[in-house]
């Protein structure tokens, strides 16, 4: 259980955040410079907020009203720094035992040995950090932070120092370790894949503020605003006009195309006909209609949009097509409307590289309405 309220003003940047989370893994997510690492430093006590309150499991670490500001060494937090910050002059064993200097030497030795064994570092226990692989360094950093049995674990971009094939396997290790920790662990990241795998809860940051906080599935499935959607890296955020809305679906007009979006019964208010709404289409949920099969099967005969592929980005196993829809007005952004992800196999089989005119179909469940309009695009 962690409750955070921080105000910190710098020239040109203000961090003003308030959030509360339970036990489990929490991702602080958002673009670089949003204030995530700064929040972590305030939690650790390395930077003093101008005002606010930080309470961990009922224990006040900082309270500007009550005049509480516990020094770093009394906070009992485990921190995994970006790049790990292992002590280069100490061995793996000495690094892990570093925080245990005030316990009896017998206990200290036992706890260190347990941790080394648990993390599979026995073979390298007498080596220095410079002699270790990136993955081993990460485990030493975790072991050092966990050895003191902290009340709260803070991890600043724990995987960013590693190259990408390694990252993936270490994400699994990290996930297992964090699950085993049991209390609250805060992971700062700007990688959506890390969020998806590691986190139970997400706090989304943007320019020094929290734009959404909640369970992972809620935040990822239903971003609270176009800003959150773009902070989450969600593409294809579009704007249209509502034609009709019911408890089951919302019909809207987007640049002359009629689109149907599935509605959630629990949505509190239906958007009024004639109002502008923002919505997004997941790139992996857009289908190209095959021309050799005499038209789409009936259930796909919905949200059909014709247009042309005007560019593509090779992403390895997938290809992102830039699709420009026929219709009124200029395209949404950068000369195209939709990004469509297709597998490389589909891309080659359908000869998309040579044949640029396509009709696409989007399932209503893949068209998601966003509450509110993007601030910059709102009328007036």
């Amino acid at each position: 259980m962690l409750s955070v309220e921080i105000l910190k003003v710098f020239p040109g940047f203000t961090l003003d955040v308030r959030w509360e989370v339970g036990d489990g893994v929490v991702a602080l997510f958002g673009p670089s410079g949003a204030g995530k690492t700064l929040t972590l430093q305030c939690l650790a006590g390395l930077i003093r907020p101008d005002s606010g309150r930080i309470v961990v499991r009922g224990r006040s670490l900082f309270d500007s009203v009550a005049g509480v500001n516990r020094p770093v060494r009394d906070r009992n937090l485990g921190v995994v720094f970006q790049g790990f910050a292992l002590f280069p002059h100490l061995t793996v064993m000495e690094n892990i035992a570093f925080g245990l200097d005030r316990v009896a030497s017998e206990v200290r030795r036992r706890r260190t040995e347990e941790m080394i064994e648990r993390l599979g570092l026995t073979a390298v226990a007498r080596l220095r950090p410079a002699q270790l692989s990136g993955g081993q360094q990460q485990r030493v950093a975790l072991g050092r932070a966990l050895a003191l049995d902290p009340d709260l674990l803070l991890l600043d971009e724990p995987l960013s120092a590693l190259d990408s094939p390694l990252r993936r396997s270490l994400r699994d290790d990290l996930q297992a370790t964090l699950r085993g920790f049991g209390k609250t662990a805060i992971v700062v990241t700007h990688d959506l894949a890390e969020v998806c795998q590691l986190a139970d809860q997400i706090v989304v940051y943007d320019r020094g503020r929290v734009v959404q906080a909640g369970r992972k599935s809620d935040v990822l499935g239903r971003p609270a605003s176009p800003e959150v959607a773009s902070a989450l890296g969600i593409r294809n955020v579009l704007e249209g006009t509502v034609l009709e809305s019911t408890a089951e679906f919302v019909r809207l007009d987007w640049r002359g195309h009629t689109m149907v979006a599935a509605n959630w019964p629990e949505r509190p208010d239906l958007p009024a006909a004639g109002s502008r709404v923002a919505f997004f289409v997941r790139p992996e949920h857009v289908r190209l209609m095959r021309k050799d099969r005499g038209g789409p099967v009936p259930e796909r005969r919905v949200n059909l949009i014709s247009g042309a592929v005007v560019g593509e980005v090779d992403m390895g196993s997938m290809v992102a097509l830039q699709f420009r829809a026929e219709g009124d007005g200029p395209p949404q952004a950068r000369g195209y409307d939709l990004e469509i992800e297709v597998s490389r196999l589909v891309h080659e089989k359908l000869c998309v590289y040579y044949d640029r005119q396509w009709t696409v179909s989007v399932q209503p469940s893949a068209v998601q309405l966003l509450p509110g309009l993007r601030a910059s695009a709102a009328p007036g």
Binding site: V72, F81, F87, H89, F98, D101
Partner: protein, 217 residues
Amino acid sequence: MDFAPILMSARVASLATLLAVVTGTPLAWLLGRHRFRGQAFIEGLVLLPLVLPPTVLGYYLLVLVNRSAPVGQLFDGLGLELAFTWRGAVLAAWVGSFGLFVRAAQAGFELVDPRLEDAARTLGRSEWSVFCAVTLPLAWRGLAAGTALAFCRAVGEFGITLMVAGNIPGRTQTVPLAIYDYVQANRMAEANALSLLTLAVVGLLLLLARRGSGARL
């Protein structure tokens, strides 16, 4: 050949170096680890003895510690007479070598990643413990290089020593002063022997200091 100057030099240079390390380390830490107002001024002050003519430095020191000056009287009262004693020679060598030590040690402290100190703090260590367990061992190369440089400079100290401690054979005469006397007396064999010895000691120390500091000197 008289061995008294060699013993005197060994004693004076060792004590002056020890004094430079003890007094210079806190200052080097302050300068290398913090940013504060007046820092540039203090850094200039540290450099000043390295560029001032030794006789000028020696003159001011003598003004400060002679038997009628307050500082001189204070030390006299403690039974630690400074002017024209071997202690004055230590003072002279300390003043000459202090700046060299501080510059090298400061560079050593500046190379320590502050995040390592933060990491130690989050692991429950006090500021003093952070300094002893992280900062000092990681700044070690700079401190060692500074110590070697300070010792070399203290061994070679001539001008300030002459002004403050004089050139009294057996009481304040160090190797450089003895070499000067030998040359004056046209005793070139002795001058040659002492010069070679100094060259060997200083050259070896410099080599070690450069090795230790990764040739950043």
